[in-house]
């Protein structure tokens, strides 16, 4: 990151003046933490006692046999506390908030996993907590809303714009400019104004650091390819980070193909041709926008990937050809999810399932002496309603109808 927060042509900090001083303070605190080995030690210790780090690297033997190509390994961020990689970032920022002496945290959330992690951290550290969530996402990720509220957070459904992740981010910024003195905005992904993209990637880099040691131990060398789904880009940056310096490792980001790129109903920013350079939500990246610079509606079955922008760091790696971008459609995602559940007894989140789709497409073309890693960014429990609906599961339907009747009495 350069002094203006850029990664190549992307990034920056396009913030209203009222936030200027807060960002100066945050940058200072972040740099101090990075230079202080005790900070990372405290972080690691918390992540290994409050969460389950290091998370396992699972050899998916059945899937490997099924596809008959590369050895398929799965990095199990689903086994992180709160069920996704999101906690890596949140606990890190929580420690910074303690250092800064702020008493209240706010966050946006799409899939609800970042909101969940933030609510959890706030409960543990004793902060007040407000979560902004698009109204559409409140509906599709209802279980997470329930748990956030149970942990004492206030969940505010955002009714503006497309009522998804970007609108939740706008609303969180509006809260922040109003309550800057005592509030920290726990940004949930590797986007937004500097220093967030780099800071979030730093906390998430724990994924790749662990995975490098684990694959070395299990496979005896570096993997041929690594797959990660890309919403804002934090789990991808997390697992890619350590491997950027390994020229032999191909890094593949998988975006939400929604109903197919041709349909226009997708969230493909880097793997297609619909996005163009823009500046919004505090940073410069490739945005899905019209010719006037108005953001477009996006679509994905996965709330966490349903976003108009993408990490400026990934945009830089995309432009320089270091990371390849692909996309997976909603239908492909359901198929991959189904297969993974049946063959491995593992339930990936809808977001994570995008990475599985691309890995499954490419595994047969690689040799059994090669290894690939899929970053399973989270578990699918939160998606129970969406998945049950997609499979038109009859017994689940009957159950919901029964419950509905019971509650409406």
């Amino acid at each position: 990151m350069d002094k203006n927060g850029y990664f190549g042509n992307w990034g920056g900090a396009f913030i209203p003046e009222v936030l200027h001083q807060t960002f100066e303070d945050l940058k200072r605190e972040y740099i101090k933490a990075r230079q202080d080995p005790a900070f990372w030690q405290e972080y690691l210790s918390l992540m290994s006692t409050y969460s389950c780090r290091p998370t396992p690297l699972t050899h998916a033997e059945n899937l490997t046999r099924h596809f008959g190509g590369a050895q398929i390994y799965i990095k199990r961020e689903d086994l992180n506390h709160t069920g996704a990689h999101k906690a890596n970032n949140v606990i890190g920022q929580g420690l910074l908030v303690k250092r800064m002496g702020k008493k209240r945290v706010i966050a946006e959330t799409g899939a609800g996993q970042h909101g969940m992690a933030t609510a959890t951290m706030a409960a543990r550290f004793g902060f007040e907590c407000t979560i902004y969530m698009g109204e559409v996402d409140v509906q599709r990720q209802r279980p997470n809303v329930f748990w956030m509220e149970k942990m004492g957070a206030t969940v505010v459904p955002v009714k503006d714009g497309s009522r998804t992740l970007k609108d939740a981010i706008n609303e969180a910024f509006r809260d922040w400019v109003t309550n800057i003195d005592d509030t920290h905005y726990v940004f949930g992904t590797a986007c937004g104004p500097a220093p967030f993209p780099e800071m979030v990637s730093w906390f998430q880099s724990i994924i790749g650091q662990e995975a490098a040691g684990q694959i070395q131990a299990r496979h005896g060398g570096m993997p041929a390819r690594i797959y990660a789904c890309v919403g804002g880009g934090s789990n991808a940056m997390g697992i890619f980070g350590r491997f950027l310096q390994e020229p032999g490792v191909e890094l593949v980001g998988v975006e939400a193909g929604g109903k197919g790129i041709a349909s226009g109903m997708h969230a493909v920013r880097l793997g297609g041709t619909d996005a163009s350079p823009g500046v919004a939500q505090g940073y410069k990246t490739m945005f899905l926008q019209n010719e006037d610079g108005q953001m477009l509606e996006t679509h994905s079955v996965a709330a966490g990937l349903d976003y108009v922008g993408v990490s400026p760091i990934l945009a830089d790696h995309w432009e320089k050809g270091r990371v390849r971008f692909e996309s997976a459609t909603d239908d492909e995602v359901m198929e991959a999810l189904d297969l993974t559940m049946k063959m491995e007894g593992i339930i990936p989140a809808l977001e994570s399932s995008h990475a599985f789709v691309q890995a499954f497409k490419e595994a047969p073309g690689l040799s059994p002496s090669e290894a690939i890693i899929i970053n399973m960014s989270g578990r699918g429990d939160k998606d129970i309603f969406t998945i049950a609906h997609a499979f038109q599961d009859p017994s689940w339907k009957a159950f919901i109808i029964q419950k509905g009747l019971e509650y409406s009495k």
């Binding site: 396009f14 003046e17 509006r174 400019v177 919004a280």
Partner: protein, 263 residues
């Protein structure tokens, strides 16, 4: 005459100037036209015309909704530029464009400045473009002699204010409080201290905006600020009572701010 000179000249005759805000294409260009006419006829000194953006991060509910409705009506940036040119041609007050940086970036900075210049626009307010991120923007502003209006906030340090002042032209826009547009502001002792700090950091006229709603608010500002900015309030008024209510509302504000006749 540049914007700063023009405002200073107007200040010779008035104890405080009035700047108003409209969102282009909301509820329609037709209504915008009538609202501007009423504003100008009743003594408004400067009008900021907001080019709608789908992600107006610094705006509160009233202006946010106006942005969204305008876009839903199909407002295009080209229409806004044409409307700006039309207003500047028929009314003898300075007009500014206010928008978010993406609108200008996507249009192309050079092309946007050229269009704005041709339209007779005197200044630009871009709340999400801090000077350190806008090298080419500020260069073009200088070349085209369109004033980039910079913003002071209560959280800005004295040093930061002086730094911003170095980049700003025309006047300084002081936001009255933390937060987004729309909510009422309190003008207590802290506020006076803040305006004192603003005044000390710049020789340009200072405008105060965010939450200014009525004659009493403006009376408080006389002697402390050079220009009062009415934003969300006129949008609310047009929503509830129609464009015809704007003239009397503005005239009512002016009563507070005309220099006393007797001296």
């Amino acid at each position: 005459m540049n914007l700063e000179q023009e405002l200073k000249e107007r200040l010779q005759k008035k104890d405080i100037l009035l700047m108003t805000h409209i969102v282009l294409g909301y509820p329609s260009f037709e209504v915008n036209r009538e609202v501007v006419r009423q504003m100008v006829d009743n003594g408004v000194d400067c009008i900021e015309m907001q080019l709608p953006f789908s992600e107006p991060m610094a705006d509160g509910p009233v202006i946010l909704k106006a942005n969204q409705d305008s876009l839903a009506n199909g407002t295009k940036i080209a229409d806004c530029l044409a409307f700006g040119a039309e207003m500047a041609a028929i009314h003898a007050i300075p007009f500014l464009f206010m928008t978010y940086y993406n609108i200008i970036f996507k249009y192309g900075e050079s092309a946007f400045f050229a269009q704005a210049k041709e339209a007779g626009i005197k200044g630009l307010i871009v709340p999400d473009l801090p000077p350190e991120q806008g090298e080419s923007f500020f260069r073009l502003a200088d070349e085209q002699q369109i004033a980039p209006i910079l913003i002071f906030a209560p959280t800005s340090t004295d040093a930061r204010m002086r730094e911003l002042d170095g980049f700003g032209r025309g006047f300084i826009y002081c936001v009255a409080r933390r937060g987004v547009t729309g909510k009422k502001s309190e003008f207590g002792a802290d506020f006076s201290d803040y305006l004192g700090r603003c005044r000390a950091a710049t020789a340009k006229p200072i405008a105060v905006g965010f939450g200014i709603q009525d004659r009493d608010d403006i009376r408080v500002l006389i002697g402390k600020a050079d220009m009062a900015v009415i934003g969300s309030q006129t949008i609310r008024l047009v929503d509830s009572k129609g464009a015809a209510a704007v003239g009397p509302f503005i005239a009512g504000l002016r009563e507070a701010s005309a220099k006393p006749q007797s001296c």
